[in-house]
Symmetry: C2
Subunit: 189 residues, 2 copies
DNA sequence: GTCTATAGGGAGATAGAC
DNA sequence: GTCTATCTCCCTATAGAC
């Protein structure tokens, strides 16, 4: 049974939407407060600072990704790659959203260093997750073995990030599907 | 013989650097003025508003791209694709910079609509330019012919944008070279 | 074209009442 | 935890002297 979200969780959910659409520098405590129907200073009871909120956003996306990837632990490597691109497809459909990693990386040089570090750690954990999927696919001989899993993972993540660019600028989420198809063909060699 | 740049050209050059590093919302007239050693209000003699500056930035990048692509009109299709990725390699080397298109698209929903429109037009001209290169390669049978030049162009541009993501977050410009290699293999089928 | 001075607004953040 | 009130800073932008 789902319990009602507390103010902090509601604020994180709303801030995440704003981050994906407008970027970290593109939203303020004011916007979050307005969406929740509360006043701006009330947010400081839940987040010491915007930097603190930013760190929580990265952490909660990391948690969400962890649960999401566990939920498809039964799928085979190709299906997991497919699901990875479907995530971006849904973001794109939902309003040409960028994932938090793509969004924050675009603003990397304006972020507090604590956020920059945490972002890089999150990226590395995503890269490792992708490496594992690819290594699994190589063991099953579904995926090509002439390249390292690291190189292939970097290729796939880059294409995933590029798919968000394309989905936003063309305003056609289906472009993500097209790139997913080529990503899988690449992996199968 | 090179003539000295006027204030407006110097400002555009500086603002472009700031855009590629910090994004459009990540720099101000103050930053530009400081770099030029002049006072902030002096810039309003050259740009009616920041939006006006933004439009000029897109226009000047378009002009620069036009000259750049003309400068390699003698190269064969594969060499032009190589040069395209080398551009991002240089941006990445120069400080993990994003190209203006990637930078602006990440902030698309915070931009004045005039800039958003002009950005999309610039993207479309870049897509057409890429389509032309690929169609040339297909005619020469250097590139595969089982896919439309449009689909292949969208794939290459997406990978180019993804390469900038990877170059910045890994802080290793050489990753761009790796992606370039795969881009060319993709085109050759 | 460049300057000083300043207006007006939104940002992050804090004090202190309830 | 939430509120009102307020502070400081920086942003875009303008007025008007030189």
């Amino acid at each position: 049974m789902s319990v009602e979200l507390g103010t902090k969780q509601k604020a994180l959910r709303e801030a995440n939407s704003l981050l994906q659409k407008f970027g970290y520098n593109g939203f303020s405590f004011q916007h979050v407060a307005d969406s929740l129907g509360i006043k701006k200073p009330s947010l400081y009871a839940h987040f010491e600072s915007k930097e603190d909120l930013g760190l929580d956003l990265i952490e909660s996306y990391k948690q969400w990704l962890g649960q999401w990837s566990e939920s498809m632990s039964e799928l085979d490597p190709e299906q997991r790659i497919s699901a990875y691109f479907d995530m971006f497809y849904k973001f794109s459909q939902k309003g040409a959203l960028y994932c938090p990693i793509a969004s924050l990386n675009a603003e990397a040089f304006t972020l507090p260093s604590s956020m920059k570090k945490k972002l890089k750690l999150l990226y590395e954990s995503q890269l490792n997750w992708m490496k594992k999927i690819i290594a699994d696919g190589q063991e099953q001989t579904t995926f090509r073995s002439d390249l390292s899993s690291e190189e292939m993972a970097e290729f796939i993540l880059s294409l995933g990030m590029g798919s968000q660019f394309l989905g936003r600028i063309s305003n056609e989420a289906d472009k993500v599907k097209m790139l997913k198809r080529h990503a899988i063909l690449f992996l199968k060699g």
